[in-house]
């Protein structure tokens, strides 16, 4: 007979299975999909370096602009992909809820982990290329940069949980999200640093929590930038409220999500 397992053991087994499944789905869904995953950040960096050269010529920054872009796009793409992939995961994995140990939230956790894994590979590729081509990749405070990334993962998870639950009942939300993400990128200090902008614009844009994360991450990465515009209380509140709201909605609606 099936042996009784503790719920944590079941959770680990389910995560292990889902993680490998998601990964092999990603690798097997046509070579273009995988290629684009790894090529996208290079493409983004290339475009924005070109734009900058066209607008400002090769005016010297106090830091390497390509490294700046690589850092920011890695973080922002991770956020974007966690949200977009997780949002669709209830419907995409509906058939799996027939295995009663698979709970809808498991699929979001697994997809988040897959994105984190892919991001780590991209970081490794960037590091390798950076050392090989001798870019200036000096980090001011590695611990705080890592903390920024970890916090961003939690924030992205909380955000996608809320959106995923809502999306399970209101279809159009997910479709809107892809469109909103492009706008969010422009408002999130991804290819510029906040301190270059006028004060009024700064004040407005810093209401965007993702911009706070970006400022935190590149503020601690580069000696010449800082995190003085970041409000840690503000993003802490966002994280806690989204997490609470997401889990509360999820617990209320889990059984209905299983039988959508």
């Amino acid at each position: 007979m099936i042996k009784k397992r503790s719920s944590f053991k079941i959770f680990l087994a389910v995560q292990h299975a889902l993680f490998l499944r998601e990964l092999s789905m990603r690798f097997s869904s046509g070579r273009m999909g995988m290629f684009w995953t790894f090529f996208e950040p290079f493409f983004q960096i290339f475009i924005f370096v070109l734009i900058k050269m066209a607008l400002f010529g090769s005016s010297e920054n106090s830091f390497d602009f390509a490294v700046f872009l690589a850092l920011n796009f890695t973080a922002f793409n991770m956020f974007k992909n966690i949200v977009i992939k997780s949002t669709a995961s209830f419907k995409a994995n509906k058939a799996l809820f027939l295995y009663k140990q698979v709970k809808p939230i498991d699929t979001i956790i697994a997809r988040t982990m897959v994105e984190v894994f892919i991001t780590s590979i991209i970081i490794l590729i960037f590091l390798f290329l950076g050392f090989y081509f001798d870019f200036d990749m000096q980090v001011e405070d590695l611990t705080m940069v890592s903390l920024g990334f970890l916090w961003l993962i939690v924030f992205a998870f909380a955000f996608s949980l809320v959106v995923a639950v809502v999306n399970a009942f209101i279809d159009s939300i997910g479709k809107l999200l892809g469109f909103l993400m492009t706008g969010l990128m422009f408002a999130s200090a991804v290819f510029y640093s906040m301190n270059r902008l006028p004060i009024e614009v700064q004040n407005l844009l810093m209401y965007n929590p993702v911009a706070n994360f970006m400022e935190m991450i590149h503020g601690y990465y580069f000696e010449t930038l800082d995190d003085r515009l970041v409000s840690y209380n503000y993003i802490f509140l966002w994280t806690i409220i989204l997490l609470y709201m997401g889990l509360w909605l999820y617990i209320k609606l889990e059984k209905r999500i299983i039988s959508i």
């Binding site: 397992r5 079941i10 490998l20 499944r21 809820f97 027939l98 295995y99 299983i258």
Partner: protein
Amino acid sequence: MIKLDRVTKYFRTKTGKKYILKDVSMVIPSDKNIGILGRNGTGKSTIMRMLGQIEFPNRGKITSDKSFSWPLGLSGGFVGNMTGRANVKFVCRLYGKSKKEIDEIINYVKDFSELNDYFDMPIKTYSSGMKSRLSFGLSLSFDFDYLLIDETLSVGDANFRKKSKMALMKKIENCHVLLVSHDMGTLRDICDVGIVVNNGKIHYFDDINRAIDEYASINK
């Protein structure tokens, strides 16, 4: 033992709530093969899935200390881009099987399903009969207290049907079934007790023949 405690289940339709169960309390004793009977659309499958705890009542509680399989012969959880082998591995991992156990299950399923080379090809190249064979073999290779079966005893060609029925009969010597079927012969062969579903009520009979008689009288 499966215990239902004031269970209510309904679906919302345009004309109002359609009840499948209305405030039902009962206890189904252990060690019985259970047949579920009822006309189309009365909610037999839903009740089977609720007893197997993959669907939930709107009110009330269903509890049991037994383990239940997924609905037998179901191929919805397979990923088209992955091979039969990879899909089997996935389900094994869900149940926390060790590497050795996974190898054993893979060999069994490969052997049972007679898919040969197709076993290592993506599921999207399978015919529906081949998919059912794979999932049927997979269901049989796990040890549950209860197997959930939803009218899927007839998969594949005549040869495979015979083989799968035999394998199933051998399997249920060691476990029990929750069977939804319209085929009275199968119900008589396999089940000990019966549940008849009708108009938001269910009737439990501790003899399958009496359940079949009741079902016949409903159909008059």
